[in-house]
Amino acid sequence: MNDMTLPAELSAADYKSDYKPIWCPGCGDYTVLGAITKAMSILQRPPHEMAVVSGIGCSSRIPAYTTCYGFHGVHGRALAAGTGLKVARPDLTVIVTGGDGDGYSIGGNHFLHACRRNVDMTYIVMDNHVYGMTKGQASPTTEPDWDNKLSPGGTGVRAFHPLVIALASGANFVARAFSGDPNGTAEIIAQAVRHPGFSFIEILSPCVTFRPEQREWKNLVHKATVEATDDPAQAARRIMTDDGFNLGVLYAGSRPPYARARDTGASLADLEAEFVL
């Protein structure tokens, strides 16, 4: 793919780099990577016109595993970096990825404000209810009674509900997916990217090393039985009362995406005129 003309159709394989992931075998992130590249092949945007931005953690390793431009930033700040990139370069497709620790703990503040700001980009969180890279501490989506070394007996603190927070903060597209359903996930990702404004997808992605019991998830997930709504109140009710394993697009709103009016007519002399005596 080094010549000037691109092939007629890009396959998922064209979006995957040669770099071999270091995730534990069995990790849900492998299928998420497959779903992301599959979604990209549905969208058919050349990889060099897309950017994948991430923070720190197992899930944040994804950028280098794609053939898109990648930015592997610092812990929790992926949304900030992605926002800067998209606002400065609205012509690019920007996808932000990371895990639940990176995104909801240290990244929590940026998460709120990215939803508010509604910049046209897609945020994919691979949620495994644990900090994998640092060997198994509770994350904001971990159950309060999950025993671990840093919080023996569990944190005792209620788990975070990212979809509700996203909705309440103004995200324009809210969905839940599961790594064990690569096709469904790929479809949702493609939809999310196409949907204007800030699109948020929570992908349940089991951690085989620190949460092996999450293998059960494949028996707990189920597709949402109703269509996505564009009524935030209705979506809020649904999401707040679901069992956490309801898959699909749960909210697709019509807020106009972030835009700043830019009038490019002024010259430097125009600007400096105010100082002239």
Partner: protein, 596 residues
Amino acid sequence: MQPPPPSTTPSQGAGAARTFSVAIAGSGGAGVMTAGSLLLDAAAHAGLYGLMVRTSGPQIRGGEAGALLRFGPEPLTTLDDRFDLLLAIDWQNLHRFADEIPLGPDSLVVGDADAGEAPDVFRAQGARLHMLPLKKAAKDAGGAWVNMIALGFAGALAGIPDSDLEAALRKSWTRGEATLAVNLAGMQRGIAYARDVQGAHAAPLRPPGAAPAGRWLISGNEAAGCGAIRAGVRFVAAYPITPATELLEWMAPALARVGGTLLQAEDELASVNMIIGASYGGVPSLTATAGPGLALMAEAIGLSVSAEVPIVVVDVMRGGPSTGIPAKSEQSDLSFAVDGLPGDAPRLVLAPTDIGDCLQTTEWAVQLAEALQAPAIVLSDQFMGQSRAVIDRPQHEVKPAQRLVAEANTPNYLRYRDTPSGISPMAVPGTPGNVYTADGLTHTERGIPSSQAGDHRKQLDKRERKLALYDYGSRWADVEGSGELAVITFGSTTGAVREALARAAAHGVRIKLVALRLIAPLQEAALAQALEGVRQVLVVEQNHGGQLLRYLRSRFDLPGRPSGLHQPGPLPLRPGELCDAFVDWAATHQPQEETA
């Protein structure tokens, strides 16, 4: 004929104590870390000192890994120049560690006869190769784990008694008698192989046979946590980060047992501000992090300075800058620790010199922070933090930190009173009569925000004075030896430097050592005294920019033309290369030489 360079004199020559170095390596379920830990445990119980360093590939499970150990009759704070034994259960990707497992003509490399050839890089160093049917032997022993063969072999070759090896295995076993018997058999097979190799030669080590009372087996991270609790820390806010997480994980249950609390925070901004809150409430508080986390904590450390609320931040340094090399050691946060805050913000910076010292120095940091009502940064590092060693238990009396606290209803109480010592009594919430508001804003003596020149100057002087006038005693550094040349260092390089200097001394090269423990405020008078008669100094450190050298030169008139030996991570500085460098350096500065 020239005598061989001092660095290549094996550590067992010239009166130095003989040590034995073993590397056990393998991948995917081989259990090399377990074997290494058991070996260390056995050696410790046999009365030896030991040190174990771990290294591994980027995979979370199944990756290539190495347990790097050293044993001897005296406390060990550095790895040797070469390994006497490399036992590879398999060769998967081991060449990636070749830098960390240096070998020589006297080394023995043992591999599995059925696992293919040893990679060139290991064979090229002149070591003897010896192939054993490791996997097969494990199977023949009734299905033992292969690492048991490794344990037996390495232990017996080193001279660790069979009984201690067996005891270590028994103690650790949680999986039933039948499997224990099988694995003991595997271990015995390994011992038998070692006897074959050893033949009539005596084992290199002669352990006393039992651990004398008063020794501990501990990691640097655990030691730091323990030191903090000794000094009275009862509140910790934690955010996981490699390589500091284990310090926090050790403290979580430990604190609870002594009535303290550890709270997991959402990020480092939260954890540092939480400990400031707790300390404002009168409870000695601490957090632990690494470079990226320390950077996030900077603003709050400034708040601790300005509001005079004591905190301790342990920075377990790793490869930098930015995300850097998270699982490897480096000493590159020093500049940031001593200078990296906006405003004029004097603070305490300490650095333990080895694993055992992580306890004393963290303890001291808490005591100083509390006494001086200031933040203290403890510069530990990944090498000390995540390695385990046999140490002499701390001998000193446990003295919890003492904060100067205002008595109830102090007449005309001024929180930030401009006292001669610079330390003003702190009112603890709940104490009647002394209500005040702590503030990061510049303030009057009463604590009311002020932009007046006089107030600002007064508080800046006060905070500088309180650190400058304090009597830190003799622990600010280890000053050893004599001569007109001196090496200055800090942190984990101290061990390698010390050993290198001992080797150089054995060849008639006399160099003084100053291993700093209190880095800021710099003890200028004491340093001047330590360097009396010294004409040239060499500053040794594990970072790219020579951060300690730059710091010393900016604060102090070092004699002669100070030079630096600085090398970034991830590889440790070793005694042999240091000794060579010291000897060369000494040769260019013969006594009585007139400086240009």
